[in-house]
């Protein structure tokens, strides 16, 4: 199983001063898989994401993606290799309209990779197509500040997907949303997965994680304490202890 894993995290650690944020994490994600990653606040989920995406560099161990080592690569280089993420708090480009927000990753990744999107017409069409996918086509010319929370999350996902990634990491894409909005985002992530994109979902909303994930991994205090089928993992005594206390 490990030989053809898309993402292979091998014994990575990260500390901030005296605080150990990640402590020897091992994790594999298969191509096309939907992995849920859960854990209490401060358990190291976001640090792990940052180490995978290159925002932070892991101190020990290695991250392999699609057969290549990612260690030491800058975040934009990892985006070029096919790792995309959405941010926990949406970080749109404030001075650009939605169309241009998506134009950036297209120009800098897809265009740089294969070059056929040279004409502005092609680019515009692709941007619109992406906006349509997330249901924001009608607001193409509007600015990010005109969007609601859920629309902002959709823009964030659309921008991540614009880079045509192999792996999408959705970092709490649903936090603070209503039930129907959560369903919207879930459907969107499912659709992306059906297109062949591997998805790691980091989420606190258990109903969403349980319905989405094929596998569930749990982080507690920088260590992975469980990894397996969702229904088994949530019954794991150690996981229950971490969430409910003893």
């Amino acid at each position: 199983m490990t030989a053809n894993a898309l993402l292979h995290i091998d014994n990575i650690s990260k500390r901030f001063g005296g605080f150990v944020a990640l402590d020897g994490i091992e994790l594999q994600v298969m191509p096309g898989e939907r992995l849920g990653l859960i854990g209490p606040n401060g358990s190291g989920k976001s640090t792990l994401v940052n180490c995978i995406c290159g925002t932070l560099q892991n101190e020990t161990g290695s991250v392999r993606f699609d057969g290549h080592k990612l260690d030491g690569l800058a975040a934009h280089q990892r985006t070029h290799r096919g790792v995309a993420r959405s941010f926990q708090l949406p970080r749109p480009f404030h001075s650009m309209n939605l169309l241009d927000n998506l134009r950036v990753p297209l120009l800098y990744t897809v265009h740089a990779r294969m070059g056929p999107l040279r004409s502005t017409g092609d680019l515009d069409a692709r941007c619109l197509e992406l906006l349509e996918m997330v249901g924001l086509a009608a607001k193409a010319k509007q600015m990010p500040r005109d969007l609601t929370q859920v629309e902002m999350r959709k823009l964030e996902l659309a921008r991540a997907v614009a880079a045509e990634p192999k792996l999408l990491i959705a970092d709490e894409a649903m936090a603070g949303l209503s039930h129907s909005e959560i369903d919207d985002i879930l459907k969107l992530l499912m659709r992306l997965n059906e297109r062949g994109i591997t998805v790691i979902m980091i989420e606190h909303i258990m109903s969403a994680v349980m319905s989405f994930s094929q596998r569930l991994a749990v982080l507690v205090s920088g260590k992975k304490v469980a990894d397996g089928l969702p229904q088994d993992v949530v019954r794991d005594p150690e996981v229950v202890r971490a969430y409910l206390g003893q």
Partner: protein, 303 residues
């Protein structure tokens, strides 16, 4: 048109005044490539300008060259300095970056003051010829300088406009908006920033290269003058920082006002004018004149 008029009335002053305004168009446009497009506020414009000017003085003493070549040398020197500054300050953002650029200007001024070959604190005289032979015609030297600066201004504006519509322009804007999101979108932020500091520095050096020939006597305090640092920030801010038109409008407006004040009141009142206009515009039009016009147009289209 100005040229034809000035030539006709034989008023050299018009050339002198227009040269200064054109020089500020180049400086403001150069500042805006880093400050407006990328959001990195450079307080050291005077240093890059002076580097261009002093590389001309150096070459003049060493081996006199025609001014167009000096402009190329000035661009190279200041461009490399810009690249170096980018490398040294890449971890700094916001006001920390601004302070670092200010420090760079102070360090360079100290160096030049203590460098005897280019005149040191005494300054350097450059005797320029009255006229210049060009293709059989004799042209007035100040007309020649004016023409060179006009070409530089056009080149700077074309560069800024081209960048704005190109992939690089989008890269610059993402750096201004959110560097972390830019990286996640595949923008090589470090490289893009270094391109900006290099282009911006190079144009400032180009603006400075003909300056010793224009002024005739160059001393550190005039080349590193506060008015260059302040004007190159104030002009784009007043005109509008998000488009190439902003620095152009700001430089023409502020530059003409200063020239007018120099003639009618006194040259010392220049910086006061800049200060007052900057305060006024920050209150009335925080996004500059271009921003104000765009806002009005949008409101007018959407009643």
């Amino acid at each position: 048109m100005v040229m034809a008029f000035a030539h006709w009335v034989h008023v050299d002053y018009l050339y002198f005044a227009s040269y200064t305004i054109l020089q500020f168009i180049v400086l403001a446009t150069a500042w805006n490539i880093l400050g407006g497009y990328c959001g990195y506020v450079n307080f050291g414009s005077a240093a890059f300008f002076a580097m261009g000017a002093y590389s001309s003085v150096f070459m003049h003493k060493f081996y006199p060259l025609p001014i167009p070549l000096l402009i190329v040398i000035g661009a190279a020197v200041s461009g490399i300095a810009g690249l170096g500054m980018g490398y040294l300050t890449l971890r700094l953002r916001g006001s920390f970056f601004a302070i670092a650029t200010l420090a760079l200007a102070v360090v360079l001024q100290t160096l030049v003051v203590n460098w005897d070959f280019v005149g040191g604190s005494r300054g350097a005289y450059i005797i320029r010829p009255e006229t210049l032979e060009f293709a059989g015609y004799e042209i007035n030297y100040i007309e020649y300088l004016f023409f060179l600066m006009l070409s530089l201004a056009v080149l700077a504006l074309i560069t800024a406009r081209t960048i704005e519509r190109a992939q690089l322009g989008f890269g610059f804007a993402t750096i201004r908006d959110d560097e972390m999101a830019a990286e996640a979108s595949g923008v090589p932020t470090l490289r893009v920033k270094l391109i900006a500091t290099t282009i911006s520095g190079a144009f400032m050096g180009m603006a400075g290269a003909p300056f010793p020939y224009y002024i005739g006597y160059l001393q550190p305090s005039s080349a590193f003058g506060l008015e260059y640092a302040v004007n190159s920030i104030a002009m784009p801010m007043i005109g509008g920082t998000t488009s190439w038109i902003g620095p152009l409008v700001g430089a023409i407006l502020l530059g003409s006002a200063q020239q007018y004040a120099t003639v009618t009141i006194s040259s010392a009142v220049n910086l006061l004018i800049v200060g007052l206009m900057l305060v006024g515009f920050v209150i009335i039009a925080p996004n500059g004149i271009v921003g104000l016009v765009q806002e009005r147009l949008r409101a007018w289209r959407r009643p």
